[in-house]
C-alpha cells in the first residue's frame, strides 16, 4: 500500500513536468499550426546545459538563467526560420513535420557533440531534503515540480486570458486569416509563440532534470510523452495537458515500479495509439469538435 502511494506521488509530480512539455507543444501548435517534434529536445537542452554547468561547479540558479538565455536565442532563431513556411504552407504538413524533425536532430546531436554524451543527475538546492514514507524517501525536488508547474500554469492562464498578447495568440489559434485582418501581427506572433514554447521548455527541463536521468538522447522520449499528454487532453486544449500529463506520469511510474523499464518506455507510445483508437479528439473535446486539419 505504501508502495502504491509512493508511485502515485512521484507519478503525479513527474506528470506535472510532462504537462509543461505538453503545454509548450499545444500552445505553439494552436498559435502557429506548427506541431513541434523538437520540443523534447529544447527541454533536454536546458536540462543538460544546467547539468553540465552545475557539475563544473556553477550554481543551479545561474545555470538556469544561462539556459534561459541560450534557449531564448535558439527559439527566436527557430521562430524567424518558421515564420514564412508557417504562413505560406500551413497545409504542407509533411514538410513542417520534417522541418521540426530536422531541428530535433540538430539539437540532440549538437548537444551530444558540444556538451558531451554523459548521463547526469541534476542537483537542485532542495535535492538533499526528503520526505520519509516508511521505507521510501521522496526528495523535495518532486514537490518543487508540483509547485512550480502549478504556478506556471496559473501564470499561463492569466497571460492567455488577460493580456493583449495572449488575446492575439488565442485569435491566431482560432483563425489566422481573421486574426490578420483584425490587425494581429502574425509574423511577430509566430516568433512569440516559439519563444513562449522555449521558455516553458526551459522550466520543464530544469524541473524534470532533477528527477529523470539527463542526457543528450533524452529528447525523443520527452517529445513522445509530451505528445501523449497533449493528445489525451486534446491538442486544442492547453489545460487538458495537465490531466494528460498526470495520466502519463502515473502510468509510466506504475509500469516502472511494478513491471520494468522496458514497460515504462512503451507506455507513452501505447497510450498514443489507444487515444487515437478511442478518443481521437482528447477527453476534453466538446461535442462535434472536428479533428483540426491545419
Amino acid at each position: 500500500m505504501t508502495e502504491l502511494l509512493y508511485f502515485t506521488i512521484i507519478g503525479l509530480c513527474i506528470g506535472c513536468g510532462y504537462a509543461l512539455v505538453a503545454l509548450g507543444i499545444s500552445t505553439l501548435f494552436n498559435g502557429t499550426g506548427v506541431l513541434n517534434f523538437a520540443q523534447g529536445d529544447i527541454v533536454m537542452l536546458a536540462a543538460l546545459f544546467v547539468a553540465v554547468r552545475t557539475t563544473a561547479g556553477g550554481g543551479y540558479l545561474s545555470g538556469f538563467l544561462e539556459a534561459v538565455a541560450v534557449v531564448l536565442v535558439a527559439s527566436v532563431l527557430l521562430g524567424l526560420l518558421f515564420v514564412r513556411p508557417a504562413m505560406a504552407r500551413r497545409r504542407d504538413i509533411d514538410l513542417i513535420i520534417v522541418g521540426t524533425i530536422g531541428v530535433s536532430t540538430v539539437l540532440a546531436n549538437l548537444a551530444n557533440n558540444v556538451l558531451g554524451s554523459e548521463t547526469y543527475r541534476l542537483a537542485s538546492p532542495v535535492t538533499a531534503q526528503a520526505v520519509r514514507l516508511e521505507s521510501f524517501s521522496i526528495s523535495f525536488d518532486y514537490f518543487a515540480i508540483l509547485l512550480a508547474a502549478g504556478l506556471l500554469m496559473a501564470a499561463f492562464f492569466v497571460f492567455y486570458r488577460k493580456t493583449d498578447i495572449g488575446l492575439q495568440m488565442r485569435a491566431m489559434s482560432a483563425d489566422v486569416d481573421a486574426a490578420r485582418l483584425s490587425g494581429v501581427q502574425v509574423a511577430r506572433l509566430t516568433v512569440v509563440g516559439w519563444v513562449f514554447a522555449g521558455i516553458v521548455g526551459v522550466f520543464a527541463g530544469v524541473l524534470l532534470g532533477t528527477v529523470l536521468l539527463v542526457s543528450a538522447s533524452m529528447g525523443v522520449a520527452l517529445t513522445i510523452s509530451g505528445f501523449a499528454a497533449a493528445m489525451i487532453g486534446g491538442l486544442r486544449h492547453p489545460y487538458g495537458a495537465v490531466v494528460g500529463g498526470v495520466i502519463i506520469g502515473l502510468a509510466e511510474n506504475y509500469a516502472a515500479g511494478y513491471l520494468n523499464t522496458a514497460a515504462r518506455q512503451a507506455i507513452a507510445p501505447l497510450i498514443i495509439m489507444a487515444v487515437l483508437l478511442v478518443l481521437p479528439q482528447g477527453i476534453l473535446a466538446g461535442r462535434g469538435v472536428k479533428a483540426r486539419v491545419v
Partner: protein
C-alpha cells in the same frame, strides 16, 4: 488522342527501363572496380537508396510522413539473421516481407481515421515501440548485444561487400523501375489525387482508406529487403542500427532527394549516406549535417534536389538556346 497518350507512356516506360538497367550496370561495374572499403560505402548507399524507394512512394505519392519505418527495417534485418540459420535465403527474405505487410496493415488500421499531424505522431510512437522491442526481446533479437556472424548471399566472381553491392544494386534497379511504373499506373494517379485533394478524390469514387493501406504496404517492402541487405553487409545487427535515427535517415533521403521524384531515393542516399562517409570532417557532425539539410530543405526547398536539378537543366537549356 488516347493512342498518343499511350505512345508517350510507352516511351516514358522505355526511358525508365533504360535508367533501371543503368543503375544495375553501375552497381555491377562499381563492385568490379572498387576496393573493399569503397565497396562497403557504395553498398551502404545502394541499401539506403532501396529503402528510400519505399519512403519516396509513401511521402511523394500520398503525402504521408512515416517516422516508424525503422520497424520494417528491423523486421527485414532480424528476420534475415534468424532465418538464414535454419533455411533457404529465399525464405529468409520472403517471410519478413510477409510479416512487414501484416504489420503495415495493422498500422494503417490504427491510423485510419487520422489526419495530418496525428499520422506523424503515431508513426513516431510505432518507431519508438519497435526500438523498445528490439532492445528487450532478447530471445528474438539478442537484446543489446545484437546478433553477429550473419551470412550473406554468395555472388560468384565477387568478394565481400562487392557481393552485397551487386545484389542490392540489382534489387534497387527493379525497385526503381517498379516505382516509376507505379507512378504511371492508375493506382499511382489515385495516390497523387489523395495527396493533393482528399474531398475531390473521394467524390471521384476513390477510397482514401484503401489507397492509404496499399501505399503503406507497398512502401514497407523495399525497406524490409534493405534491412536484410544491411544485415548481410555488416554481418551484425544490433539496437544501435535500429534506432529512431534510422527512421529519420530514411525519411531524410526521400525529402532531401525531392519527394515523389523518381531519382530522389538514389540522390538522397548519396547526400545522406555517401557524403558523410567520404568527408571525414562531416563524420563527426554527420547527424548535425543532415539535420540541418533536412530543416533547410523542408523550409526553403520543398522539392529538394529535384529543384536544383530542374534549375540547372533550365540554365543549360537557356544557354544552349542563346548560342544556337
Amino acid at each position: 488522342m488516347a493512342a498518343a497518350r499511350g505512345a508517350a507512356r510507352a516511351t516514358r516506360q522505355g526511358v525508365h527501363l533504360g535508367e533501371a538497367a543503368a543503375i544495375a550496370a553501375g552497381a555491377v561495374a562499381l563492385a568490379a572496380v572498387l576496393g573493399p572499403h569503397e565497396a562497403q560505402i557504395a553498398a551502404m548507399t545502394a541499401i539506403f537508396a532501396l529503402a528510400g524507394v519505399g519512403l519516396n512512394i509513401l511521402v511523394g505519392y500520398t503525402g504521408l510522413v512515416s517516422l516508424g519505418h525503422v520497424v520494417f527495417f528491423a523486421i527485414g534485418a532480424y528476420g534475415w539473421a534468424r532465418l538464414t540459420e535454419s533455411g533457404s535465403p529465399a525464405l529468409a527474405v520472403l517471410v519478413p516481407i510477409l510479416v512487414s505487410l501484416v504489420v503495415a496493415a495493422l498500422i494503417v488500421l490504427v491510423t485510419l481515421r487520422v489526419v495530418g499531424y496525428y499520422f506523424g505522431i503515431t508513426t513516431l510512437a510505432i518507431g519508438l515501440l519497435s526500438v523498445v522491442v528490439v532492445q528487450n526481446a532478447t530471445p528474438l533479437t539478442g537484446g543489446y548485444a545484437g546478433i553477429s556472424g550473419i551470412q550473406q548471399i554468395a555472388v560468384p566472381g565477387f568478394a565481400g561487400p562487392g557481393q552485397v553491392l551487386v545484389m542490392s544494386g540489382l534489387v534497387l534497379a527493379v525497385a526503381y523501375y517498379l516505382q516509376s511504373s507505379l507512378r504511371e499506373s492508375p493506382l499511382g494517379a489515385a495516390m497523387l489525387a489523395t495527396r493533393f485533394d482528399v474531398p475531390a478524390s473521394q467524390s471521384l469514387g476513390l477510397s482514401v482508406a484503401w489507397i492509404r493501406l496499399l501505399a503503406f504496404m507497398i512502401s514497407s517492402v523495399p525497406v524490409t529487403i534493405a534491412g536484410a541487405f544491411l544485415a548481410q553487409l555488416v554481418h551484425y545487427i544490433g539496437p544501435d542500427q535500429m534506432s529512431l535515427e534510422t527512421s529519420i535517415r530514411l525519411i531524410a533521403i526521400a525529402i532531401i532527394g525531392g519527394r515523389g521524384w523518381r531519382w530522389a531515393p538514389v540522390l538522397g542516399a548519396v547526400v545522406v549516406v555517401t557524403l558523410p562517409e567520404l568527408l571525414r570532417p562531416l563524420a563527426e557532425y554527420r547527424l548535425v549535417f543532415y539535420g540541418v539539410a533536412l530543416a533547410f530543405v523542408a523550409l526553403f526547398m520543398p522539392r529538394g534536389l529535384s529543384q536544383l536539378v530542374t534549375w540547372v537543366g533550365g540554365r543549360i537549356h537557356a544557354l544552349r538556346g542563346s548560342t544556337g
